[in-house]
Amino acid sequence: MLPQRLIESLVGLFLIFSLIALSVLAFQVSGLTSLFPKQSYVVTADFDDIGGLKVRSPVKIGGVQIGEVAKIGLDPVSFKAVVNMRIYHQFNDIPDDSSAGIYTSGLLGDNYIAITPMYNTTFLKNGSKIEMTNSAMVLEKLIGQFIYNIKNGSDNGDKKDAKQ
């Protein structure tokens, strides 16, 4: 049996070692940043259809992440989706007539919000609302429209043939 003092220090080493492993897991593996939240302000936008947007989906300008989706709700009157976005404080010079759209990264990737900046000299601030929005492009709707168009096109062609 080892002396008690040595055992206790070995156990202490074990504890420290596992704490280091935990911090590696937290910061290197899961990229934990919510312990030290970045300074940010909240901007809302109403969308007709948000598709597969989720809380913590990224908000981007020109592909660069400038914030994330904080909350998604439903407007009880207009039945539009109300999306609250948390935008990092360092990006505090976005014109307030910018438009927001929901896009998909890659063919089957996740949804994100892209903000297209315009030219106003007043900027978005905490609580302000983005008025111009583009809804998510839902693949099923698109396919539906496409099939509908093909059908109509071929019907018209038949009628033309019949007339001739």
Binding site: S18, L25, G31
Partner: protein, 260 residues
């Protein structure tokens, strides 16, 4: 015919008594905890013998599990041109499932069996009854420190297991197969969540730690005090602990996927 029925009934009542005894033991270990000043050195000794001495098998096996996962995952993902997703694949499967489960099963084999054998031998050589004769409660002196030692070491071992497995995957994926290091880590960070994945994995390991040490302590304390009895108690400890870990894992995963 009646004999058969009575045998079934006897077997059932025996099992029921086993569960009852296990429950009482668990209750007494939990609520008659040793006082801090006297119990601390005993618990530290047990953390040493159950945790520190298990480090070797945990580190080596986790390193190889991470390496194998990366190797297998890379060749499958490369078929779909998705080898940049290697990081999330390895990290999620290790942190959510493989880490807690494999660490618990290794812990049952390495530390649980030792605890059972030690307590069983103490019982066979009548050390436990002589403690009672000296008015030393064997639950305080022997059982409780072993339980708390395992309870403390299990999550720590799991955390170390997770970290080294991901390091093993990094070695194979980045250093050997040539996945870009930045993509490996950034994809991992964007898809692993601390609360939903890492913390839930650690919660699992805490539950497994309780289950494994409870079974080990129970099997040792109620072992038949002969050499054959100790042998079968040790076997049962490892088998039951592994089964309990796998079953509990399913239940816990179902709970965690349903967001509690």
């Amino acid at each position: 015919m009646i004999d058969r029925f009575s045998m079934v009934g006897h077997w059932g009542i025996d099992n029921l008594r086993c569960f009852g005894k296990a429950g009482i033991l668990f209750y007494r270990v939990l609520f008659y905890a040793p006082n801090f000043r006297k119990g601390f050195p005993l618990v530290a000794q047990q953390v040493y013998s159950e945790g520190v001495l298990s480090l070797l098998i945990i580190i080596v096996s986790s390193l190889f599990i991470g390496m194998v996962l990366a190797l297998q995952g890379y060749h499958t993902l490369a078929k779909f041109g998705a080898s940049q997703e290697l990081g999330p694949l390895v990290a999620l499967s290790v942190v959510r499932e493989l880490g807690p489960v494999v660490a618990a099963i290794l812990f049952a084999g390495r530390a649980g069996s030792a605890v059972t054998a030690e307590i069983g031998l103490m019982k066979a050589t009548e050390q436990i009854s002589s403690m009672e004769m000296m008015a030393v409660d064997p639950l305080h002196r022997v059982i409780s420190p072993r339980f708390w030692g395992g309870f403390i070491s299990m999550p720590l071992l799991t955390i170390i297991f997770n970290a080294t497995a991901i390091y093993g995957a990094y070695l194979v994926g980045v250093k050997w197969l040539g996945v870009d290091a930045g993509i490996f880590w950034s994809n991992m960070q964007s898809s692993v969540e601390f609360h939903a994945d890492v913390v839930n994995g650690i919660l699992k390991s805490i539950v497994f730690g309780i289950a494994v040490t409870w079974i080990a302590v129970f099997q040792g304390y109620f072992a038949v005090p002969t050499s054959a009895g100790i042998a079968s108690a040790t076997t049962r400890c490892v088998v039951y602990a592994s089964l309990a870990v796998l079953g509990l894992d399913f239940v816990l995963t179902a709970m965690m996927i349903g967001e509690w």
